[in-house]
């Protein structure tokens, strides 16, 4: 049981980092980013390719984070001209473009074959201990991200980006440039997604383009909305809740009578959907609401 829980905890950490990035963009700044998975994919592929080439895993992870950070810059420039819903479409397309590139550039990414055998850190330990060490690593990264996020949200920059979310014209009126702020948050959020991607690649050990569908973006959105947008705790609670619903539903089999194994698979997905709908109906502000907004 423990190793399974450790795995879930690692996935919570990975989705937590992803959601924290989205929280910065949407929760604080109001950017509707439907292409978050693009940065997750960039982080995963960069780190996997670098470590498969024989360089240290730490270097791969750092490079994955930095590359995701930089990849958000051109997208950010584009965003300057776009308001909410248009931005959503552009970012969604961006993530699909990235996935198509991953499929097509076979010389680099092996195309649809994907990259098997990505090295795992702590491989000298036994499997159980290696997973525990990995969890510690993910948890540390998460803690650092939370601390940074907390500092950021209480700094003048944090107040400014919230102001951009609430009233862009007012920000402009006091002589600040919303465009620069938007680019910065987009890049910072992308860096977190890139780091999450790197953690994902080295944990799962095999990546292929079909693991980076827009579904991942929407998982992060679900986590953010369930937890409560605009708060750090909300992002973490949300990703825990998401994994709890996704994985906890596997144990339904043991408590629901008169359902065959095959029907159970479909029932499980239905329960997940129903859970989300009920959540939205009765707790639309998320578990941890943003107190700065009334």
């Amino acid at each position: 049981m423990l190793p399974y829980l450790v795995t879930i905890a690692i996935m919570i950490g990975i989705y937590g980092l992803l959601t924290l990035g989205l929280n910065l963009q949407y929760g604080y700044t109001g950017l509707i980013n439907f292409g978050h998975v693009a940065f997750f994919a960039i982080g995963a592929y960069t780190s996997a390719l670098i470590s498969l080439a024989g360089y240290p895993i730490a270097l791969g992870m750092a490079a994955g984070t930095v590359l995701a950070f930089l990849a958000a810059y051109p997208l950010g420039l584009l965003c300057l001209r776009l308001r909410a819903d248009y931005l959503a479409i552009v970012t969604l397309s961006f993530s699909e473009i990235i996935r198509t590139v991953l499929i097509s550039e076979e010389w680099l990414t092996e195309g649809t074959q994907g990259l098997p055998g990505i090295p795992k850190p702590f491989s000298s330990l036994s499997q159980g201990n290696a997973d525990l060490a990995y969890l510690a690593l993910v948890a540390t990264a998460m803690l650092v991200a939370i601390l940074l996020m907390w500092r950021l949200s209480h700094s003048p920059f944090g107040r400014l980006i919230r102001a951009v979310r609430d009233d862009e014209d007012a920000v402009r009126a006091v002589g600040k440039d919303p465009a620069q702020l938007k680019i910065k948050t987009l890049m910072l959020g992308a860096a977190l997604a890139g780091l999450a991607g790197a953690f994902y690649a080295h944990y799962v050990g095999y990546i292929s383009p079909d693991q980076f569908l827009p579904l991942v973006t929407f998982y992060a959105w679900i986590a953010l909305i369930m937890g409560g947008a605009g708060t750090i705790t909300g992002a973490i609670v949300g990703s825990s809740l998401l994994l709890f619903i996704l994985e906890g539903s596997r144990f339904l089999r043991d408590v629901v009578p008169f359902v065959s194994e095959v029907q159970m698979a479909s029932l499980r997905l239905a329960v997940i959907g129903l859970g989300l709908v009920l959540f939205m109906l009765y707790r639309p502000q998320g578990l941890i609401p943003d107190r700065s907004q009334s």
């Binding site: 399974y4 050990g205 292929s208 705790t233 709890f244 596997r250």
Partner: protein
């Protein structure tokens, strides 16, 4: 709700809830099988049938007294035809349910993602995937592929093209691992025999028209086009080739053909399209047992789901290997016997009960499965019999076996 409600609390909650329900009374000697099948997602046409076939085969083994006295217990999960959920499902099967084997992973991406976990835990993995890496990472022979891999598809295609007397084949392939490898091995086999490919093209999924791709290939004036794709794109390409008045014939794999293609195209367009595919031993006793069980569980014919037959065979081969290795054998010892109970040098058996009796009598056995003769090559990949089919005046007919 307060901010004190943190992820640790939730985790604790999961742990508590899960430990309460995940401690079923398991007999000490049961052999636990995780059925990790694509019940939802892209593989859903096959997944339910695979899972039910595994359950049915395990029931058959248990009815015959179990394997070496060990009952088989099946724990089912849905892999969702997707790597990440499959990894978590496999983790649950391995760590919570403590399964000894995972059977029936279908797509290569799922099998590749869970292979490192099964290898690290000494768990037997039986799959229907064809990615070459799966077989090169299988150093301890714990993994077995029940679907003939790309190598055999490519060779079968080359044999058919040669036998039909074509000299100028072109290649068109759907852009994914399996399809690209199929035509890749076709090219290898064809060129090794001194032939030449006049044109090759990879096309993208989910287009509404492939006219420009077709025109590019047809410009090289091939006499046959080896088309490796799936039902939707194959339908479009064949119809457009007909509209363009192309004289080249097509050869396609059976998973993109069958009655559904005929229904979509009609007798005129489908006339003369060649289809290659593996043939289950329909006349064999194992297939009849499987087919009856399939019909009972799903109310459709087992012939429609070749992966169901393969999943059924996985359980029977595994049970026979356990029987041969003995009740106290570990997985490495059991896996070693898989080849020994199914390769050609033994007495032919077609069911678990028959094989068990022969093993008890001290004989060598050769399990002839529902999906094929189940003779494994040096990589642990089953080599099936291939045949060539065609459409003639609106009928799907078998032409001959391919060697």
């Amino acid at each position: 709700m307060t901010v004190h409600f943190r992820s640790t609390t939730l985790l604790g909650g999961i742990a508590l809830a899960a430990s309460l329900i995940a401690a079923p009374a398991i007999g000490q000697e049961a052999y636990r099988i995780g059925a990790l099948n694509p019940v939802t997602g892209a593989g859903n046409t096959y997944g339910s049938g695979m899972q039910k076939s595994i359950i049915a085969a395990a029931a058959e083994v248990n009815a015959a007294g179990g394997a070496a006295g060990r009952k088989l217990e099946v724990l089912a999960e849905d892999g969702q035809t997707s790597a990440e959920p499959a990894v978590l499902a496999a983790k649950k099967l391995i760590e919570v349910n403590k399964v000894n084997a995972i059977l029936g992973t279908w797509s290569s991406s799922v099998s590749l993602a869970i292979q490192p976990m099964t290898l690290a835990s000494n768990i037997i993995l039986m799959h229907t995937s064809s990615a070459p890496t799966l077989f090169t990472q299988n150093q301890r022979n714990l993994d077995w592929g029940f679907q003939s891999g790309s190598k055999y598809n490519g060779r079968a295609m080359a044999a058919a093209v040669k036998k039909e007397g074509f000299t100028k084949p072109a290649i068109m392939s759907f852009n994914n691992d399996a399809a690209i490898n199929n035509v890749g091995f076709f090219r290898k086999a064809w060129e090794a025999a001194g032939g030449k490919i006049v044109a090759a093209l990879t096309y993208e999924p989910k287009r509404t028209s492939y006219r420009s791709e077709l025109q590019k290939v047809l410009a090289a004036k091939p006499d046959v086009i080896a088309l490796s794709g799936y039902l939707p794109d194959t339908t479009i390409i064949l119809r457009e080739a007909y509209e363009l008045g192309a004289t080249a014939k097509f050869i396609i794999p059976d998973w993109a053909a069958g009655p559904a293609l005929l229904k979509a195209l009609g007798p005129d367009v489908s006339q003369g399209v060649l289809v290659y595919g593996t043939v289950p031993n329909i006349a064999g006793a194992a297939f009849k047992t499987y087919s009856a069980a399939y019909k009972k569980a799903l109310n459709t014919s087992g012939e429609e789901n070749v992966f169901g037959a393969q999943a059924y065979d996985m359980v029977i081969s595994l049970a026979l290997a356990i029987e041969k290795a003995g009740a106290s054998a570990d997985n490495v010892a059991i896996a070693k016997e898989i080849r020994a109970v199914s390769n050609p040098d033994g007495e032919k058996v077609t069911s678990f009960a028959e094989g068990k009796a022969a093993l008890k009598a001290g004989k060598k056995i050769n399990y002839e499965g529902a999906s094929g003769p189940l003779d494994f090559d040096e990589d642990g990949n089953a080599v099936a019999d291939f045949a060539l089919f065609t459409y003639d005046k609106g009928q799907y007919v078998k032409r001959y076996l391919l060697q």
